[in-house]
């Protein structure tokens, strides 16, 4: 018990001193996950909206696929991205393996189905409400998608934050494609896993505290946003 108490104190000390190692790892985590979520937003939200509004063969199948992919274990995503990026893989020429770029790719694959699925659900509800009138106003298919994305902006921000939460907290995929290399591809989750197994509890605890705080802040923001939007726009 004394060991844990001492470890907690040292963790706190490292956080307050802005320990270089902690800062480096946190910064890389944020850089990788924010990039992945940005790409996931640009691709996933319109993709979900198109699935909601569009009428094409295979629409149901695509929606089911996406929902299934939402629950993919991150290690599986890691293995698939690893194979794609490895030297003999289809994207091997990019030379991304064991770089932050590879981790971004893995996290995009991880958050895209989640964000697209939430987007599809949210936009579909709005579409059901507006479809007939937008048709009566002769909105094109694409103009409808843009109008719906804008109309659902507050709910979609929740999708973005959900994506960020998943990206920040997953460990399996970035471990496999990034390799958890010190000063290169070590992020919060992989560092926590490694340091805990090595017995460096202070570092693991310090990073764990940061990660927990980030996740709490994300969820708090999502909640506050929903409350604000409901009050403002009904």
């Amino acid at each position: 018990m004394g060991g844990l108490g001492a470890a907690l104190l040292e963790a706190l000390d490292r956080l307050l001193r802005l320990d270089a190692q902690v800062v480096e790892i946190v910064a890389l985590s944020l850089r990788v996950s924010l990039t992945a979520v940005l790409l996931g937003t640009l691709l996933g939200l319109p993709l979900g909206a198109c699935l909601a509004v569009g009428r094409f063969p295979g629409k149901q199948a695509a929606a089911v696929m996406m929902t299934a992919m939402m629950g993919l274990p991150s290690v599986v995503v890691g293995v698939v991205v690893y194979l794609a990026l490895s030297r003999s893989g289809p994207l091997g020429a990019l030379g991304l393996l064991y770089s932050p770029g590879a981790m971004v790719v893995a996290q995009v694959v991880l958050v895209l189905p989640l964000m697209a699925a939430i987007s599809r659900q949210v936009v579909e509800d709005a579409w059901r409400e507006y479809a007939e009138e937008l048709q009566a106003m002769r909105f094109s298919w694409w103009a409808s998608v843009l109008t719906l994305l804008h109309d659902c902006r507050h709910s979609l921000l929740v999708a973005v934050l959900a994506g960020l939460g998943r990206a920040m907290s997953e460990v399996g995929a970035v471990m496999i494609v990034g390799g958890n290399i010190d000063h290169a591809t070590r992020v919060m989750t992989t560092a926590i896993a490694l340091e805990t197994s090595k017995g460096d509890l202070p570092l693991a605890l310090a990073l764990g505290a940061v990660l927990l705080t980030v996740i709490l802040v994300i969820n708090g923001l999502a909640y506050a946003l929903r409350v604000w939007a409901r009050g403002r726009f009904g």
């Binding site: 409400e129 009566a136 002769r138 909105f139 109008t147 109309d151 009904g234």
Partner: protein
């Protein structure tokens, strides 16, 4: 003149999964004035308006919009429960202009001018979803009017409004007519029909039972169904 008229329904039938809603509607409408479609609940009035807007296809027969290939942007429709985007009143009133390739700045200018005409100018920056039913109807009318349609279809524009709300909406409808837009509307308010209509179409049992100038329709209805309907004694009024 515009090519939308005469607007003609030729033996229009509508039988969604076997249920016979319209059995052969023949109707010719000119490009002026207000046509009020009357008929009991379930007669197919809303279905007919949706067909005139091009939102529903007849099962048999056809709708012809004059010499036009189909209902384009010159046809607008206001629904019984108009949609409101999660946005300001101004953004909502200017919405339909988005399909008309109008710049954002011009949309706002024209939107504000329209809000003044429908008496919502001081609500411009409020959320449209927080408006009352009557204010929503006015907003929806303004939204449709803003695109200067040649044909405006209104489905029960004053259902569940209080007398002053009804009056405000009727005033706007008259102005729209004066502006040169043909209006086709449904209502269950016979007083409203006498106040607004130039001609009345009476729909019952899937057919146009009567199409007459408003005075003649109310003074000397020809069909027995219309006579009973006007007296409020139509048997299927009390069905269910």
């Amino acid at each position: 003149m515009s090519g939308l008229f005469p607007l003609a329904c030729k033996a229009v039938g509508f039988r969604p999964n076997g249920q016979e809603v319209l059995r052969g509607v023949d109707l010719v409408l000119g490009g002026e004035g207000i046509t009020v479609v009357l008929g009991p609940n379930g007669a197919g009035k809303s279905v007919l308006l949706r067909m005139l807007c091009g939102l529903l296809e007849p099962t048999s027969g056809s709708v012809q919009w004059g010499s036009a290939a189909g209902p384009g942007r010159e046809v607008a429709m206001v629904f019984q429960h108009p949609m409101m985007l999660r946005d300001t009143v101004l953004a909502n009133v200017a919405l339909a202009l988005k399909a008309h390739a109008v710049s954002g700045r011009e949309r706002r200018t024209r939107g504000r001018a329209m809000l003044a005409r429908i008496g919502l100018e001081d609500r411009a920056e409020q959320s449209a979803r927080l408006l009352s039913g009557g204010e929503r109807q006015r907003l929806a009318l303004g939204r449709a009017w803003l695109t200067r349609p040649r044909l405006l279809l209104l489905d029960e524009p004053t259902a569940s409004l209080d007398p002053s709300g009804v009056e405000a909406v009727e005033r706007i409808i008259r102005e729209i007519r004066t502006d040169g837009t043909k209006v086709v509307m449904t209502t269950h308010n016979l007083g409203q029909a006498t106040r607004l209509a130039d001609d009345v179409v009476f729909l019952a049992e899937g057919l146009v039972r009567e199409h007459a100038p408003v005075q003649r329709f109310f003074a000397r209805p020809v069909s027995p169904e219309a006579r009973l309907f006007i007296k409020g004694e139509l048997p299927w009024h009390v069905g269910f």
